[in-house]
């Protein structure tokens, strides 16, 4: 299912921010903004909620820590206990380094996968690329063309008045 988007392309991030501000003032919802680097202060125009990635990291890290400790205990005490230099089977302190590493490994990898899934970043998929300049020097505001209530002409004019170098419609 293809959707239509109206793109306003800017050369200057400050012009783009002002245009986004104006669009929000006139109650027009912005689909997304594409920039070559993270531009701060756009969150309120896109109504972005704080990301839940830290929660993922916490759960994944805790799971890694607990699993690694349990596994080492099971291996060393339950499944096949071996007397190594008279050390106790449950050498808890000695299990901490490996448990720490597994915690970091789980935390990092699961967070990365969660990020990739949530952001729909997968190999070969290039459907969401709106404007090829947005990875280099263009700042692109994308508005979804929904229905008749969407006044493309008026919005184009607004974008133009804030210094958009190019206003175009793109189907994705």
């Amino acid at each position: 299912m293809s959707k239509k988007y109206l793109l306003g392309v800017f050369h200057d991030e400050h012009d783009m921010i002002r245009a986004a501000q104006e669009l929000r003032k006139s109650d027009i919802s912005i689909f997304d903004i594409y920039t070559p680097f993270p531009v701060h202060g756009l969150d309120q125009y896109l109504e972005i909620k704080p990301t839940r990635l830290p929660v993922v990291t916490f759960i994944a890290g805790t799971a890694g820590l607990v699993l690694a400790l349990l596994f080492q205990y099971w291996v060393s005490v339950i499944d096949w206990p071996i007397n190594v230099g008279g050390k106790p089977f449950n050498s808890f302190a000695a299990f901490i380094p490996v448990a720490f590493e597994i915690m970091v490994l789980f935390g990092a990898f699961i967070t990365v996968f969660a990020f990739l899934l949530r952001s729909k970043l997968v190999p070969m998929f290039s459907g969401s690329i709106m404007h090829t300049g947005a990875t280099q020097d263009k700042f692109v505001i994308a508005l979804e063309v929904k229905d008749v209530s969407f006044d493309a002409q008026l919005i184009s004019k607004t974008l133009d008045s804030f210094g958009a170098s190019e206003v175009s419609v793109r189907e994705v």
Partner: protein, 455 residues
């Protein structure tokens, strides 16, 4: 771009550049066919790598009796080089993670190359324990998997901790590095001229569009990864030091080892970063991105960590005396005045004395001198590991088993071979991937300029 520049804060990119120019500066080098200089460099380094592969094949097929080890010195050259490379692999994550948490914005132009160096150095390090196993095709035995031998690993051994620490460190650093590369790969994809290039870059850039919703999560992800990598980097060299510290050998059995090794790792890593970047900025025309003030900042890190290392040398001697333990005292006196005293004093001069020159601004801003000092530190840190490992072993508790160690040609060629691997991979990296984090540098272009001033 604005002409108004703060006098107190110097810009991080020394020339006024637009966003397109930043991409051009970094990417045009790798979009052109390789020059002769690159071809000569990669020929030399890959020849050394080939020699390394041949001698590794020889020692694996013959056995590690080809090494110069004996009954007394059972660990020397291999583990020295292992610790040497792992140590070098610490600066990248320090720069990308710890400096990110400390909001040191100057890191943006050097973190990509430093992280690449980290990953490559860890690969070089991994070679040594794998050869030392004697049967490297069974290297997977170090991982806990249900097996027909019906036996598990000994989780009480620091050598096993090392397996987990190094492999986790390698994986997390590689992922962190790749995540950082995605926006730049997307930039390369959108600039690609040939269909093949575009296809490959479309796969590896994962459909990155520059969406603000993604950037928002991306920045959080980088922060989380930095937060995870920071304790990780400290843990890795801590665990490496525990290979020694948990033993009962005088000269190894010391509680100071973890912080001492971590400081040493940062010290040697920054030295190697300096060595590489001073060449890189010249060859790749990155002088406006890796500016003298970047070099100066790294010199200061080197000065500081060098003094921490010096303090550790002193503390070791103090503790040897203060402990009243005769074996401990003997080992340290033997280190400084015994048969390996030359190695000890090379270490002290290279690591403690020579970096003191960095107190002078004139030295820190003279790139030739900085380059030479960085080489001295690299040499000094290699000798530090050699001194710790070999001098503690070669004088056993029983004088009848006292021995000396000297490397065989096999060991020397293997070491040169790992340099071949290191430089081959590094040259491939600078040839095919952006050596400067483009999207990150773009965020600091307006550093030290008034925020609202624009045309």
């Amino acid at each position: 771009m604005s002409d108004v520049v703060s006098k107190l804060r110097k810009p991080l990119v020394s020339k006024d550049r637009t966003y397109t120019e930043v991409s051009d500066d970094v990417l045009s080098v790798i979009e052109k066919p390789p020059g002769n200089l690159w071809k000569i460099c990669i020929s030399i380094s890959s020849s050394l790598l080939l020699m390394g592969i041949i001698v590794i094949g020889y020692q694996v097929s013959t056995g590690i009796g080809t090494w110069g080890l004996n009954k007394t010195v059972g660990w020397s050259w291999d583990i020295t080089n292992f610790v040497f490379w792992v140590g070098i692999g610490h600066a990248g994550t320090l720069i990308s993670a710890i400096l990110l948490l400390f909001r040191q914005k100057w890191r943006t132009s050097i973190n990509r190359a430093a992280e690449a160096m980290t990953i490559i150095a860890v690969l070089c390090a991994a070679i040594y324990p794998i050869i030392h196993m004697g049967r490297p095709w069974l290297a997977y035995w170090v991982f806990p998997y249900p097996n027909t031998r019906d036996i598990w690993l000994n989780f009480r051994s620091p050598l096993l901790w090392d397996v987990f620490a190094i492999s986790t460190y390698f994986c997390v650093s590689a992922v962190f590095w790749y995540i950082g590369l995605i926006p730049d790969l997307a930039n390369m994809r959108d600039r690609a001229q040939t269909p093949l290039k575009k296809r490959i870059l479309t796969i590896v850039s994962l459909g990155w569009s520059g969406s603000h919703r993604t950037w928002h999560r991306y920045e959080m992800l980088c922060l989380i990864l930095a937060g995870l990598a920071t304790p990780l980097v400290v843990s890795v060299h801590t665990i490496v030091s525990m290979d020694f510290a948990t033993s009962v050998i005088p000269g190894w059995h010391a509680t100071i080892f973890p912080p001492y090794f971590v400081a040493g790792a940062v010290f040697s890593g920054f030295a190697m970063v300096l060595t590489l970047l001073i060449i890189l900025r010249k060859v790749m025309n990155f002088e406006h991105y890796i500016t003298p003030s970047h070099i100066e900042a790294m010199c200061k890190v080197l000065l500081c960590t060098g003094m921490i290392v010096g303090l550790a040398y002193g503390t070791e001697f103090f503790m040897a005396w203060y402990s009243g333990n005769q074996y401990e005292r003997f080992v340290f006196l033997n280190r400084a005045f015994g048969p390996y005293a030359w190695a000890y004093w090379i270490m002290v001069v290279c690591n403690v004395v020579i970096p003191q020159l960095f107190w002078l601004k004139k030295v820190r801003t003279n790139l030739v001198i900085v380059f030479i000092i960085s080489i001295f530190v690299n040499i000094g840190m290699w000798f530090e590991r050699f001194v710790i490992i070999t001098t503690s072993l070669h004088r056993d508790f029983l004088p009848s088993s006292w021995a000396m160690f000297s490397p065989t040609w096999v060991e020397i060629c293997t070491f040169i071979g790992t340099f071949g691997l290191f430089f081959t991979l590094f040259f491939l990296f600078v040839r095919f991937l952006p050596a400067i984090a483009i999207s990150e540098v773009k965020t600091v272009l307006n550093y030290a300029k008034p925020k609202d001033h624009h045309e």
